[in-house]
Every structure is written in C-alpha cells, then in structure tokens.
C-alpha cells in the first residue's frame, strides 16, 4: 500500500527537525507551530523538505500561515499541487 502523504510529511518533519517523537505520534491536526515549537528557521526546513520529497515548488502567494498550520493543511496543499 502506498504511503500516505501525511505520513511522508510527518517522517520528514521528525527527521529534519531532529524531534524526539515518533512520526506516528504527530496527529494530522496537531498545531505544528505551538506544539512542536516550530519557528521560522524550522519552518524553512519543512518547506525545503516538502519541495524535495514531492518535487514541487511553492509560489510566493502560497506562503500563508493556514497552509502550514497542521500536517493535514500541508497535505492538502501538496495534493492540490500534485493534481
């Protein structure tokens, strides 16, 4: 079975941000910024990671807080971009 987009994103976040949690412990609707203390530089890592994993590029107007609030929100953006 193909890995869910959400699961790929969680694994990437844990790996790139050196978080001491298992990817499965992150809920799809966890508020990433507050729960995992994600600041601007860590958010930058997430953006780069998403672009690398899914082969997409975020356009200027796609940088909005709602788009990066939760794994579910990020997944939605990724799905839209992947078509």
């Amino acid at each position: 079975m193909a890995e869910r987009i959400e699961d790929k994103i969680k694994a990437m976040i844990v790996e790139r941000l050196f978080l001491n949690v298992a990817p499965g412990d992150i809920a799809d609707d966890d508020p990433l910024m507050t729960k995992y203390e994600i600041d601007s530089v860590r958010l930058f890592e997430i953006v780069i990671g998403i672009e690398e994993i899914f082969g997409i590029t975020f356009e200027d107007e796609e940088f909005s807080l709602e788009a990066f609030e939760t794994v579910a929100a990020i997944s939605s953006v990724v799905r839209n971009k992947l078509g």
Binding site: E15, R16, F18, D39, S40, V41, L43, F44, E45, V47, I48, F58, D60, E61, F63, S64, L65, F68
Partner: protein, 276 residues
C-alpha cells in the same frame, strides 16, 4: 590563548581573533564566515572549533569581513569579491606571523569562497563545511526565507519579494540584509561546478545534515576536482540555521580527524630529504 588582532585589507582595517595553542605547530587556518544570519548562528561553533584546534597546536584566525562584525566599512561594502580579498589578507597575516602552512575552513558562502580561493591560489589545505555549490540555488533559498518571515509576521507573503525582479533601487534585501544589487548578482553567479576541474590542495568536504547520504551536488563537486577532496557526512542539526545552541561535537570530531591526518602528511613531507 586568544589574541585580538587588526589587519589591513584593501584600505580597510579588519578585526580578527587569533587562537593559538601553547605549542604552535606552525600550521594554521583562516575561518571564513558564512553570510548574514548564518554567520550569527554559526558564531559559537566557529569559536569552539577554533579553541579545539588551537588546543592541538593549530593557529586559527577568525575574522570579520569588511562591513561585518567589528571590521571597518558599511554592510553594503560586503561582496564575494571583497570577501575573497579579505580572506587573502587574513592568510597573509598568518604567514607573516610564522605560520608556515596556511589553510582555509569555511561554512556555507564562506566555504564557497574558500573553495574558489583554494582552487586558484596558494593554499595548503581547505575544509568546506556545507559549501554552497550553486549561487542561484542559494539565492532562491534566501528568497524563500524572506517569504516565510513575511508569512509569520503578516500571515501571508506578498507576491514579488525583495531580492527578486520586483525590488527596485541599488540596495536590495537579501535574507534581511541590505546588499548592493551587484553583490546579490555576484552571489547568484557563484558556481563551484564551473571551476573547470580545479587542481585542489588537500581538501575535505563535510556535509552536515539529517542524512548520512552525501547530497548529489556535493558528490558532483568532489568528483569535479583534481585530486578529489575527501568527503564525509555527519548527522547534526544545521547550526547555522538554528535559533539556540546545537551540539556540534560530530562536526568537530570529523574536522579534527581530517586535520590530524593532514598534519601527519605535512610531517612526512618535511621529513623526506630533498633528492640530489
């Protein structure tokens, strides 16, 4: 032992700190700082690396490029070419102060400059931590950083960011720093893969990231050089892109292991009698 020094570079008085051990080896290196925020975040790591190497006898010179830190000049005077001139002056200072073998260690843009200089001029060795292989890619990352900061402050990034074609005037914003448009263009044009099979002194490329697998661009860079630099990767948080402290022990260990081997090579070369 640490000593604050001042030296001249193209009419500018630059600030540096020399780290020396009790028994200097006569070998040393200049530490080339990265750009902007990365230099601030890497400051402590540079200090610790210098102290560790000095304790083993290496003479290590940390310094501020013109227009940055405690050195003379405005930030708009910073450019890659001016920084290269400053690195040359720092190397010359070490040579004039009884350091026989002088190398370079850089991170990010500092590693890129060290690489360019080592490929073109007299340099005994070079260590590149996460060099920027392609300036255009680096520029794009800086634009993204800017957009993310806008997003966090305003909730949404504005289309057309400073540093892109939408910006006007000679001074533009690059990662929060006012630089001349010509400086931004100079950074964008940096491309280590275009150095045309450079002949390198002994060199070490260190990847510092979440992954042990060497990135394709770093492998391509190593493959493009003659002789090919040694490469390694350590799993460590990107300390130059973090707020707060990061344990950089893996970086220090990998770097000192390579320097130890380099010192052995220097000693072997000096113990060989000249052929008649």
């Amino acid at each position: 032992m640490r000593q604050i020094i001042r030296f001249q570079s193209s009419g500018k008085r630059l600030y540096g700190v020399l780290h020396n051990g009790e028994q200097p080896l006569g070998c040393g290196f200049v530490m080339c700082a990265p750009f902007g925020e990365e230099a601030k975040s890497a400051y402590r790591t540079y200090f610790e690396m210098a102290e560790i190497a000095a304790a083993k006898g290496w003479s290590v010179l940390r310094f501020d490029y013109r227009g940055t830190g405690n050195s003379e000049g405005g930030f708009d005077e910073f450019s890659p070419s001016a920084a290269l001139a400053d690195i040359r002056s720092a190397m010359e200072w070490l040579r004039l102060n009884r350091v026989r073998r002088v190398g370079l260690l850089g991170l990010g843009l500092g590693a890129t400059l060290a690489f360019e200089l080592a490929a073109a001029e007299s340099c005994d060795f070079m260590i590149a931590w996460e060099p920027i292989v392609n300036g255009e890619e680096f520029h794009k990352l800086n634009v993204k950083r800017h957009l993310l900061r806008q997003m966090l402050v305003r909730g949404k990034a504005a289309k057309g960011s400073p540093g892109t074609a939408a910006a006007s005037g000679d001074i533009i914003d690059l990662d929060g720093y006012p630089v001349r448009r010509s400086t931004a263009e100079e950074i964008r044009k940096l491309d280590l893969l275009e150095l045309q099979a450079p002949t390198m002194p002994p060199a070490f490329i260190l990847q510092i990231s979440f992954s042990q697998n060497l990135a394709a661009d770093l492998q391509a860079l190593a493959d493009s050089c003659h002789p090919s630099p040694q490469t390694a990767s350590v799993v460590c948080e990107p300390f130059w892109n973090r707020i707060g402290s990061v344990n950089c022990e893996p970086v220090y260990e990998a770097t000192m292991a390579w320097l130890d081997k380099q010192l052995d090579a220097f000693n072997r070369a000096e113990s060989v009698p000249p052929s008649s």
